[in-house]
Each structure stands twice: as C-alpha cells, then as structure tokens.
Assembly symmetry: C2
Homo-oligomer: 703 residues x 2
Amino acid sequence: MFCDIDTLRLIELKFYHYLMTDPFFAPKGVAIIGASQDAHKLGHGVLRNLIQYRYKGGIYPVNRKAYEILDKPCYSSVSEVPDPVDLAIIVVPARAVAGSLQECGERGIGHVVIVTGGFSETGEEGKELENELMEIANSYGIKIIGPNCIGTIDTHTPVNTTFVVGMPEPGEIGFISHSGAMVAAIIDWASGSGIGFSRIVSLGNQIDVNETDMIRSIAEDPNTKVITGYIEGVADGLKFMEQARITAREKPFLMLKGGKGESGAKAVASHTGALAGSSEAFKTAFKHCGIQEAETIEEMFEWARAMAWQPLPKGNRVAVLTNAGGPAILAVDALEKQGLHIASLSEDTRSFLKKRLPKAASINNPVDVLAGSGPGTYTLALEALLSDDNVDSVVVIQAPQDWFLPVSLAEVVGEVAWSHDKTVITSIMGKASVGDALKILQKRRIPNVAFPERSASVLSAMIERRNWLKSVERESGSALKVNADEADQAVEESDWKKLLELYGVNFPEEFMAKTIDEAVDYSNKIEGGVAIKLVSDDISHKSDIGGVVLGVETDEEVRAAWTKIESAVKAYDGSMKGVIVQEMVTNTPEVITGFVRDDQFGPMVLFGSGGTDVELYKDVEMGIAPLSETAASELMKRTRIHKKLTGWRQFPESDIKSVIGVLQALGQIAIDYPQIKELEINPLSVLPKTEGSRALDVRGSLK
Amino acid sequence: MFCDIDTLRLIELKFYHYLMTDPFFAPKGVAIIGASQDAHKLGHGVLRNLIQYRYKGGIYPVNRKAYEILDKPCYSSVSEVPDPVDLAIIVVPARAVAGSLQECGERGIGHVVIVTGGFSETGEEGKELENELMEIANSYGIKIIGPNCIGTIDTHTPVNTTFVVGMPEPGEIGFISHSGAMVAAIIDWASGSGIGFSRIVSLGNQIDVNETDMIRSIAEDPNTKVITGYIEGVADGLKFMEQARITAREKPFLMLKGGKGESGAKAVASHTGALAGSSEAFKTAFKHCGIQEAETIEEMFEWARAMAWQPLPKGNRVAVLTNAGGPAILAVDALEKQGLHIASLSEDTRSFLKKRLPKAASINNPVDVLAGSGPGTYTLALEALLSDDNVDSVVVIQAPQDWFLPVSLAEVVGEVAWSHDKTVITSIMGKASVGDALKILQKRRIPNVAFPERSASVLSAMIERRNWLKSVERESGSALKVNADEADQAVEESDWKKLLELYGVNFPEEFMAKTIDEAVDYSNKIEGGVAIKLVSDDISHKSDIGGVVLGVETDEEVRAAWTKIESAVKAYDGSMKGVIVQEMVTNTPEVITGFVRDDQFGPMVLFGSGGTDVELYKDVEMGIAPLSETAASELMKRTRIHKKLTGWRQFPESDIKSVIGVLQALGQIAIDYPQIKELEINPLSVLPKTEGSRALDVRGSLK
C-alpha cells in the first residue's frame, strides 16, 4: 500500500501532539479568575468542581476581595499566581473579561476558558467585545474556549473546569458539544448508566477554538476510544472534513447534528440543486468522513459504548440466544429490518445444542434454551454459537425469571464472550431486578440494551463502520487527463456538451445532414433506429410543429421523414437548414447525475434515478468530489436504481463502469472548474454492459 | 348521523358486558389447584401473589397433602372449596390438568387459567392433551386462558393470578400479550417508571380464549383508557378486525407485532401479489382498524401514557418552551421530521413574551427563557403559549441547571397545563437529579420524555389517532349497482376487461377495423392520435414484426400504417384479420391498482406508482376491501404518486375522483366474487381532471 496524503497528514498530526499535551484537558496548574465565596455563583462552582473532583495540580482562586475560598488561598491578581499555571478559567462579568484576559497574557498563560456569557449571543455590542478579546488573544498567542461555555472535563487526568454538578464516570467516550445544556444533561443522565466518558468539552461562542480544532485533541487522547459530538454547524467545511476523515480512520466517530437550516428560499435551476439541501450536504460530508450520524442522544451513546467495548463484527450474520420466544422474535424482526442476517447454524452446532439443551428447546437460530435453563446452559450454548464459523455476533437475551440470579448470567457471558473475538451484546431485560447484573456487564465490557430490539441498531452501526473502513482501504485515486485548453474554452462558452465529451462522457451519435441523401447516408452509419430532427434558425418548438420524427429505420422511412419535416416547415412558413440524424436510445434505465457546490463542504456529486420524476421519488445520494472509483461505486450502491442497473426484470445488466466514469468526470470537472456553479446530466441512459452510456440532456450554469 | 353497523354492534357488546363482569379480572373467589408449600414452585408463587397483592375475595389453595399454606387452609379437592368461587388457576403437572379441569366443571367453576406448560408447544402429544381439555371445557361451558401462560392481572380489583414477582402500579393501560416473557419483562421494567397498568393478560397457547376475545373485555374495563398489546398473529383476521375497529373508536389501541412470517416462497403472478406480504397485510389491517403500530416496546408505552393522560392535539402546530438552545433544536428537528409544524406565535403572544422574558430571550418559537429563568418565568410563558390560538400543543424542556428545583417546574406545568384543553409534554432532562420532579409529573398526568426529541414520536402518534377518528366519522358507504348476470358471465370467462367495464372502469376507446377504409373511419371517431395494432390469429409478438404503429394522426398516416402492417404480415407469411384502432394515452401519470386476498384479513386493495418499476420503488399502500370513498381517498394520499396526481411539474391536476371510483370498483369486485384470487390494473393512465382514467393493461386469476 502506498502512503497517501491522509496518512502523511496523520503522521504529521501525531508528531505535533506528541510534542505537547493539551492544557485544556491536562493543565499543570489552573487559575480561576472570578472565584467566588458565594456558593450560588458560577465562580464558586468551578472552584468547587476542581477540588471536589480531585484535580491534582495547583488550584489558584483569583479574587481580590477574599482571603481564602474552600480552604484555598486567594490571589488578588493572576500575576501573583505561582508556577506552574497554564490554564485560566475566567468567570468575571462580561465587561471585565478583556482585562482578565490581558492579565493572563502578561502572566504567560496560553490557554483560557471563558465561562462568562453576554457576548455575541446577545447582539452587536457583545460581538464587539468578542473582537476585542480576539485582539488580545492574538497578541499574546492565547488559545480560548468560549465565551459563553461550560468548559472542559477529563475524567482520567482528572480535571473538571465546569460549574455543573456531577462528574461522569471515567470511560472511553469523548464528547464535543456546541450546546452547554446538552453537556449538563448528559452528565446528569449518564451517572449510573454505565456510560463512561474520557473527555468532554462545551465550545460556547467559539471565537477561537472550534469543533474542528477539538477533533484531533480528543482523538489523540489515548483514553478516548470513541469520539462523539453534538454540533449545530461547522466553522469551515473543508477543514472539518479533512480532520474528521483522518480521525475516523483511527477511532469511531459519532455525531448528532442539530438544526436543519434548510435555505428553502434558494432559487434552484436543476433537479440536482433542488435535491441537495443543507441537511443532505451534512449527511454527505459525514458519510465521506466516516462519521456516523445518530438520530437520538441515546442511540449515539448506545453505539459509542458498544464500539468502545466490543470488537466490530466481521460480517452481518447474527445468532440470538434467548430463554423466551417473544423477546427473541422482536430482536429478529428488528435485526432483519436493519439488513442483518439471522445466521444459519452449522450442523456441528446444531447437533451439540440438540444434545445439551432441553428436549423442547429450539436449536435453530434464535436458540431458545427455555425458561427452565440457567447460566450453565447459556454458557454451553453461547460457547457453541461463538465457535460457529457461520456466526459473526451473538445477542444474548434474558427475560425476567425466578430460577437464577441475573448476575450469574452476566458473569458467564462476560467470561465466555472474551475468549472469542466476536461481538456480543446482551439484553438482560427489566429494570427493578437487574441492577447488579448490569454493573457486572459494565465491568466485563459487555453492552446491554434494555429491550432486545435495540441490539439491531447497535450491531448495524458497528457493521456500517467496518464497511466504511474497508471501503477507505480500497480507495484509489483518479486522475483524468484532459486537453486543458479545449476544456477551458468549452467552459468559457458554457458548452457543457463539449466539456463533458472532453472528460470522456458519451452523447448519442449524431450527424447534421443538409440534404435528403446525406440524411440517408448518415442514418446508415448509425446502428439501430434513428431520430430525425429539424435544424432551423427560426423555429424553436420543433416537435410541436412536427419537426421531429422518432424510430426511423429504413432508407424509405428516412426519406419520408425528411419530406414530412419539409412540408411541416413550409406550412409554418419557416426555413430549414437540414436535419440532425441522431442515434435513438430507448428502453434503457435512465439516471440523473450532476454536481452542486455546498457552501460549507464544497462540490458534491449527485447520482440517482433519473427522468422527470426525480424529485418525487428522491432516490438520490451524494458524494464529496472528486470521487475515487470505489467512492463512486459505493455512492451508486446506496440508491435503489442501482438494483435495476445490475440486471433486473426486463433490463439486462447495465454498463455500471461507464456510469462510474461519468461520476468521476463530473467530480473532476467540479474540482478543475470552480467557476461552474452546477452541472447536471438528466437523463443519462445506461446501455447494456460494455456498451457505455449516453447523456441525453445536460444543463449547467456558471457562478 | 345515522346509526351504522359498527355502532349497533357496539351497543350490543356494551349491553352484554353490562350483564356480566369478567371473572378473569374480577373473580368472586379463586381456587389455586396445585398450590404448593415449596417457595420455588409456581403453585406457591400464584398463591403468594394473590395474598401479597391484596386480592380481597376468597383465596382457596387446593392441595391434598398440605394442611395450610401461607396461613390459608388447604382443600384436598376443588369440590370442597366454599362459595363463592368462579375462577380456578391450575398449576398441576400437564398429565393431571385434565382431571383438575373436570373437577372444576363439576364444581361449576366457569373460568380457568391453566398455567402449566408442556402442551402443543412441545409437539403432537401435547396437542392431543389440549384437544382433551377442550372437550371437557365444551361439555361444561368453561372458558380457558392458556395453557402455558402466566395468567391475568387487574391492578384495580386488585387481583394478580400470575407467579411473577412484582405488581405494576395501578394505571390506565391495558396489555394483551402472546408472550409471557414479555409480560414479566414489562412488569419489571415498568416498576418505578411512572407507567401504570389496569389489566394485563398473557394468553399462552390460546386453546380457547384468544387475543380477539380479550380485546372487548379489556376495552369495556372502565379503568382502562388505552389498550396495548404484543401479538404474534391473530386467530381469525376478520373477527379480529371487526372487534378491533369497534374498540379503536372508543379507546386508543396500540400494538407491537412480533414475527414477520413472510412466505417468501409463495409464487406470485402480479406486482400486486409480490408487494402484498404478510407484514404489509398486518399493517393494512391495523390501519383499517385504527390500531397504531409501534416499533419498540418503549415507544408503545410512551404513546400509551400520553394518550391516557393528555387530550389529543387539535392540530399539528407545536410550541417549544425551553431554557437551553441545543435541546430545543433537537426537538424541533425531530418534530419537523415527523411532519409537525413549529407554530407561528401570534403578535399578542410575542409582545407579551417580549415584555416578560429576559432581554436576550428568544420570543420566537422555540421560546428560550434562558438558563437564568425559573418556574415563574416558565409559568408566564407556558400560559401565553397555551392561550395562543396558533398553538395546539406545547413541549416544555428543562435542561439541567442549578438555579431552581425541578420539582417546582413540575408543579407549575401540571397546574397551568390543566387549565387549558391542549396537549402538554415535558422533557425535564437528566436522571440523577430529577426523580422527584418526575413523580410530581406522574401525579399531575403530564407525560415526560427523557430526551426532548422523543416528544415528536409521541405527538405524532396522538395526531395520527385524531386524524383516524376524523376519517372514520367522514366515512360513507359505497354500493355499486352492476348487472349481475353479465358480470357473472365475465368472471366465468375470466374476461377481466368486460368485468371491470361493468363496474365502471374505463379502457382506451378502440374499434376493430377489417378494411383500410374502416380503419380511417374509426380513427376519425377518436379524438387525438391513435395506435394501429395488427389483429392476427397466427402472429403473437405483434410489435416485434412491425405489427404496431403508434402516434398515427392523419388519414394518410392511417393508410400508411395499414400498408406497412400488411406488408410486414406478408413478409412473415402470416394472416391478417384486420387492425385495432385504439385511442392513444400518453404522457399522463400511470398508477397501479388491484386486489389480493390475505389469508387472515381477506381482500385488500392496493394502489401506488405504476409501470414496470413498481417493485423497485414500492410506492404502494393497501386498504381493506370494500373501500368507502373516504377510505379510498385516504389510501391514495399515503402514496408519493398522489402528489403527482394533484398537479405537479408538467402534469396538470389529474382525475383523482375517477381513480377513487376504480379503487372502489376493485374493492367491490373482491367482495362480490370471492372466486377471483387477484386482479390487477397496471398501468392505469390517469387523465386530467374530469377526463377520467384508462386501464391500459389488466390481469387476473381465479382461485
């Protein structure tokens, strides 16, 4: 494997982070400017959290009016704070923040969290205050998180610079948030849930450090196994994608996107434009980067926990082990709905199960050990399932029963699961009676879902990640070689057909015939039937006046068509320069493809079912330009029309390779010519395998 | 309003239930046959639950070897048990069940729950034992629940005939289950969750009482406000629909369906057949009956609780009230995704909010009172929102904060919400810090969701119910009058075109022309272009040999077409009887419609996007035959193609009324002719408004 640009960038970033640890998460000493004696003030909460959650470095409250707070001696100015100190938390009123920041600069403190609110979120005046802060920060080289944020947490350092009551359990999940309230809610919700965190950061108004800056800092943290985030937008789409894509190759990267922000009023000239809204752009960018988008907070953390704790499944064949029928049925329904397969057990497994399970037990998948079986039977069955080559993952369900303690099941599942390299998820059902069992599962790193049907979403997210990693490995570059001068000229003239032809896109074969005999000659050069179309300077709606004749086959028909068109032109009092004799492409699948430019993420190539009903069915997907062959192929596979192209009902297998070429050409044009706003081929007729494709209509516009 | 058949049936059922209370849920005395002294046996658990959960009637353990169990005197036979006793729970070994049942019959006990397992679920032998039980039951008129079940619970009586540890809190939700494990899991999970139950029943092997029998019993219970269920199938689809439809008009009816049971191997001759799988049939039947299908257990009970506690929203305009931006954004995203509208607040509301909320607060929907506001501000804002005519429901979000106690917010929301007749849902976020607040919300009957985005699924389910109730009200019958003799004959001859024409379905106008002059004459009778198609006894693939000419307009073109066909026939050495001159229908939306018969639910009419790609896009929906005008219209509205029919892009508004007529005709044919297995029109071309529709192709088959 050659060392691609992503890998080089990764090595560079790793080296950079090796040289410096991040004082936002592992400070050597912390000054709290605005520490307060009043237990109801935020400046008190920050100090309290640093002490209470056992930060081990120096803690220096700055307050000129107090002698000591919470047994810590106070300093009247940050300039008096002793070494080492590399992080300051500012909690003074908005008008006093600039002064405090100035003092930090003078004291040589390079990292500052500004908790104080009342800046740009309140209007123009606040925005000016922020500008002032950035001027000071730039002159001293200070990095700022905030203002209007709740700060940072690292559970392993440990350090908690927030004022929020509670500290999450140490764990493997990093969380980046554009919403402070979301951080507070998640800390409260996660306590006692078995979801542990490594680093948490609330970014506030992001005058300096933004979500993109934070990605690498969190990713480089060895305690973080999975990166999660709640974001409402990105500061710079291209930088975000660059960082995110590198990061997702190393660690699972999950995201909850808030705020759709559809610019509904935007005038769009093409199908492609109409279909490519802002939320689709985010989806496309996320997919490109390997970021997995969750629908709800719970879903995101359920995925994160499983990815942090369990190996990714090697395939999508799932075995279900249960002591009750109903819950297993619900699990199987949900798994199948997510596209997972219920594994066919091997003959060995089945005969072993037949021998060891109760007579009435079901030895087919789902394996039902029945209500009377205990942890011993579960152990034997689980071992057999995990040893079966036809099984990639196992969901272990226990419906409430009075026969044995759920803790015993948790222990044996934990033990047996880790002697194999396969994914195991449990659903020890209930709440009141299973608290102890859940604690053991946490210890053994077995994710448990409260209801068995939720295992499907978790396993499917894990498989999606595995498939993305595989597709990234396969990717190879594409570099189309094109006559640049001719292409430049085509763009200048908005001659989209010419441009696309230069990039290898095929149009129907056609000739301009000036006489009836030329028309006959040309029609014989084209295989199959042809269309004869009037060429005239003064008649625009040619088909309305009978200037177009389709499905012309024999020489006689060509002549008849010419004559018919000629008399139609006469009847209309128009002039006739001749006719176009054009290859007819009928009864082939039609697709749409094109590119648009997203304000944030740049050019995106769209592909999907073509024709006039495109917007009705919305069977389209997008990818970030330029597209590698693999990326173009994966993009196509996400649509329904792909099924048709692979050979479906009356349609033979289509020339998919040719379509991939067209998609790559469009991606390359988008990169080569930033002045093209959008370009669309609809329909692109896809001929049978090896016969290529034909662009039947194309439209585009310059910026 | 006239008194329809559903209403009459309802009155009859109500009267029936008025005469007798159900001893399964309100027995006068209970005998436990097989009560055991051994605390590990089920027969002990049943007795323990009856005593522990305070059943107030007589509790009579039957055990010939014991003197007393749990301080209750034992009887050596059920014949010795004193009056009153109208329910027996049998927990003896399988082989002894028949004898015990016989004794119950002799003692005059009319209701029996058989907990014992080891019957048909274990094989043929068990099935025979069940037959024996039913013979005894029939001879004494005993009603049986089970065997292999865990019995019944009524929290209001109270009575708990199960052996499962735990008793749900009294509440308004009834639950019918085909899985005992699911009942046990839900009892365990619900304890402390604020979800209360009225009646619960586990049905086991259903040798007698089945899910359909239970629907009315649960529905008639005045304590039950919402009916929920987990079912894996239905005993009799038509009876089930009859009971369910009546019931859903009175009370919300929610269902979780386990087991897809797709009969994948079934050979199908039509698109309609291929699209109408068993799970689609259940979905269709549920929709017809007003049963709302949930995807997960949690979702079902979250819906149930909201419907039990809150009024249904009068429309889909939602206001969101919050103290933090991020969570509100997530709620808004989810609400919009579910098709709900974010209400535009009235000028009055906005100016009130502007006056009373903090300066930086957002007074547009979502209304953000900001982190510093307390229950007082929430009160003022909630009152304003609930008083706004533009608002149908309010979601109140509270992100964790340290300023005020969440209990106070719970109290004021409870108070203000009930002074209006609008739907209020809260999302007091977090877990560790909000336990007390949640208890108050339960008391005040305000449903709370742990994360704000979940309010969307709840509100949307409530609105779906309201819309179903409205659509049922609007329904009116349809009775097509058809010449029965002619129709009978058409069916006998499988002349589907004739049959459909008799039921008012239109086909393209066409004439059989035997000479070239006739062809010209006929073509002049038809408006617009025509198709000329060869009629021949010995040529089958007419279009392949050039026997079909499309788009023929002038007399000359008709003659040319005749000549062309004539020479093609000659070249092929075939014979020519003449041609069909047929109306051409082009460039109009094409739909598919037809009916199939589901084994369980009878005939179902299908409608959707037509053509050859039907199965690719699967834009189809089904309805139970026969269809009222309203039902046909609602069915159409659920598809994407409906948008096109209402006038979309180049298409003018189509003749939707004509399509409704075709759907009703198909539904009526399905009822009138049970011997027709399936019938399909694809495509049906829909002409512009008032111009009707044309069936271009039809296929059908007899059973």
